[in-house]
């Protein structure tokens, strides 16, 4: 998931300078941490830090990838898209790891993906490659139905809360529609999540009739926003957040007890002493998302040996080592369940019980339950932003 959202935007602004310099010298960005191995291909990858694991030695010793350089990139759709379409990103990097559905903005810069070159493709649950009911396919370009992406990491989002204060919470109602917790809630400052989660709550509780939560019409957005404004005036929400550390700080400091947030925040809050930090299992369902790997059809991606190295990399991310590392780092899951057995076999390095629990809970559980698949390129994106602005300025 887009981790340090705005903070990463700020970091990416700094990193974009590094990108330009890196492009000039053909070296990696400042996020690279792949060791040198027996292979001779240097792979340049850019994307969300969620996918950037700490240890690539297993990849570099077993494939033609000698070095993997990972440059963090913003999850802000506009910023990343403009850098790909108008900037040098598509030539400087072989792979983009971004929130699925964002790729529709730069399909023309992507190669068609050949799943036959990925041995573990069939390990990916079908709902990730072809989510039913989703308005936006995470692996294919809308404009020409080309297969361009492979799911890498996924999760089912709900919200964070302090169980020691609130007791167990199982509904978005606690976040959006509860006088008991009025003034104790923080929303993410993001129209893509806050409006959609509220829509999920309204639709599931028959308070609104929404045909497609991930692709709402202007009228549906207005209905959701009217409700949010009503609750805002009632004092439901204390503040919004846009940075990861900011969100964790909000709940750890006690300024809020319920936080529209991401699973890793629970882990961070617990590390900072908030033992009651819990991620909600919600009756209405989940805000589901995946991060996909997309191959740029540019200079970096077309160098000798790089394309085959890319497929080796993608295949590796469907293996146990990558999957186990992702769970340990963030609590998210890779797009294949291989990590469960792998963590068991390598219990000296991984918490096998935690890995097992996360895959059972998410990949084999919540991602198949009710909710919606996030869509970063809705048809009425202007209306989404406009309604969010209307909510915030009221």
């Amino acid at each position: 998931m887009r981790m340090e959202s705005r903070r990463q935007f700020l970091e990416a602004l700094f990193a974009s300078g590094a990108i330009s310099i890196a492009g000039c010298f053909g070296t990696g960005g400042d996020g690279g941490n792949g060791g040198s191995g027996s292979g001779d291909v240097t792979l340049e990858v850019t994307g969300i830090t969620t996918v950037n694991v700490e240890d690539y030695s297993d990849l570099t010793k077993s494939t033609s990838v000698g070095q993997l350089n990972y440059t963090p990139a913003s999850t802000a759709v506009g910023e990343f898209t403009s850098r790909v379409v108008e900037g040098p990103v598509a030539d400087q990097y072989a792979v983009a790891c971004q929130l699925s559905t964002m790729e529709d903005n730069f399909c023309g810069k992507l190669k068609e993906l050949d799943p036959d070159q990925i041995d573990r493709w069939d390990n990916i649950p079908e709902y990730l490659t072809d989510p039913k009911g989703s308005p936006n396919d995470p692996t294919r370009c809308d404009e020409n139905d080309r297969l361009v992406g492979m799911p890498m990491v996924a999760n089912a989002d709900s919200f964070v809360y302090n169980k020691e204060v609130t007791g167990e919470l199982t509904s978005y109602g606690a976040m959006f529609d509860s006088d008991e917790w009025a003034g104790r809630v923080a929303l993410e400052d993001n129209w893509a999540t806050s409006l959609s989660k509220c829509a999920l709550y309204l639709d599931a509780n028959n308070m609104a009739d929404i045909e497609s939560i991930a692709n709402m019409t202007p009228d549906e957005l207005k209905t959701v926003t009217d409700f949010l404004i009503e609750r805002k005036k009632a004092g439901q929400f204390r503040t919004t957040w846009s940075g990861y550390e900011e969100a964790v700080s909000l709940i750890v400091s006690g300024d809020v007890d319920i936080l529209d947030g991401w699973y890793p925040m629970v882990l961070s809050a617990q590390e900072q002493g908030l033992s009651g930090a819990t991620y909600a299992d919600t009756d209405e369902g989940y805000h589901k998302w995946s991060i996909g790997g997309y191959l740029f059809d540019g200079e970096a991606g077309n160098q000798d040996g790089v394309e085959s190295a890319v497929y080796e990399y993608l295949n590796w991310t469907l293996g146990g080592e990558f999957g186990a590392q992702v769970v340990e780092q963030s609590g998210y899951v890779a797009a294949s369940p291989a990590a469960q057995d792998y963590a068991e076999e390598n219990s000296d390095r991984f918490d096998a019980d935690f890995v097992q629990q996360r895959y059972d809970d998410v990949l084999l559980g919540k991602l198949e339950e009710d909710g919606y698949w996030t869509n970063r390129t809705p048809d009425n994106v202007g209306a989404y932003e406009g309604e969010w602005q209307r909510f915030k300025s009221t």
Binding site: G78, T81, F106, D189, G243, G254, S393
Partner: protein, 302 residues
């Protein structure tokens, strides 16, 4: 005629430099002196604004501008006038608060601190700026949060909630950002005051307060004006500060811009910027009409 033109041009171009300069008139010399400055202004001020204006009338699709004229972005931007006016109000209040807090500190340093100790004290005020801005913001929030040090110290009271995630906390944050600038600029203008003018006022029977009102304050106006301009520029475009420190009911242009860019509504951002410039322009006109603010700039020239 062409022969004459070429001959004259050649004579001018290849004449010795002294002779070339001597042939220039005053207007041409002035133009050459200002040319580098004009070029910089054009490149870094005029050109960016011109692009913003142009973009505000175009569309943006798939990461590229589509050069079809449209006024739809202005329609959307005017619907956000409330946010623009709110941000302007916050900036003006920030100026008043910062100058009110900064002037006494600057005056104290100027009036009561010995000359050899002034610079070290001013450096102490500036040192916090070395710390990363986000870190300063987070430390402020942490300090005033529900379980932060302040509320921990005041354990005998109900936790103070209004110091975080409210408009008040935003002003505290903006003050933290702009106060050192204001103090330094006002101090520098105070230091430029000719002491003989102050002595003359005392000699003629003026009290301390009278001298301050009639001599010191007017002569330090350039520093106040310069500080006010900087404070306004910093606060009107502030994004991360309001986003972290302000609560649900305070929405500023800087925060709105982040949302606009996330939705790839770049022409809308341009339209909002143009309207903001317009609002500032109207404020300046009103300020000149009713408060003769341009006279303050004459103080700077004087």
């Amino acid at each position: 005629m062409i022969h004459t033109l070429i001959t004259n041009l050649s004579a001018r171009l290849f004449a010795p430099v002294d002779e070339q300069v001597a042939q220039l008139n005053d207007r041409q010399i002035l133009g050459m002196q200002f040319a580098p400055l004009m070029a910089i202004l054009f490149l870094f001020a005029v050109l960016p604004v011109a692009f913003i204006l142009l973009w505000s009338f175009w569309s943006y699709e798939g990461g590229e501008f589509v050069m079809t004229f449209t006024l739809s972005h202005y329609e959307a931007a005017f619907s956000r006038l409330n946010t623009i006016l709110t941000t302007t109000r916050i900036s003006l209040v920030a100026i008043v608060l910062t100058i009110s807090a900064g002037y006494p500190v600057a005056y104290f340093v100027y009036r009561f601190v010995s000359e050899e100790n002034r610079l070290p004290i001013l450096l102490v005020l500036v040192v916090p700026f070395i710390v990363n801005r986000l870190l300063r913001i987070f430390s402020l929030v942490d300090l005033m949060s529900t379980r932060g040090p302040l509320n921990t110290l005041l354990f005998f009271m109900e936790p103070i909630q209004f110091l975080v995630h409210t408009e008040i906390s935003l002003y505290i944050g903006l003050l933290n950002d702009t106060l050192p600038i204001a103090i330094v600029l006002i101090y520098l203008s105070l230091e430029r005051i000719d002491e003989s003018l102050l002595n003359a006022s005392y000699d003629l029977g003026g009290s301390g307060l009278y001298t301050f009102r009639k001599v010191t304050l007017p002569l330090s106006a350039p520093g106040v004006v310069a500080a006010s301009i900087l404070i306004f520029v910093i606060t009107i475009g502030a994004g991360s500060m309001p986003e972290i420190m302000a609560g649900m009911n305070t929405y500023t242009i800087g925060v709105m811009m982040l949302s606009i860019f996330d939705a790839q509504q770049i022409p809308l951002a341009g339209a909002v910027s143009v309207i903001t410039l317009g609002v500032i322009g109207i404020l300046l006109l009103l300020g000149q009409r009713y408060a003769n603010i341009m006279a303050l700039f004459e103080e700077i020239e004087g």
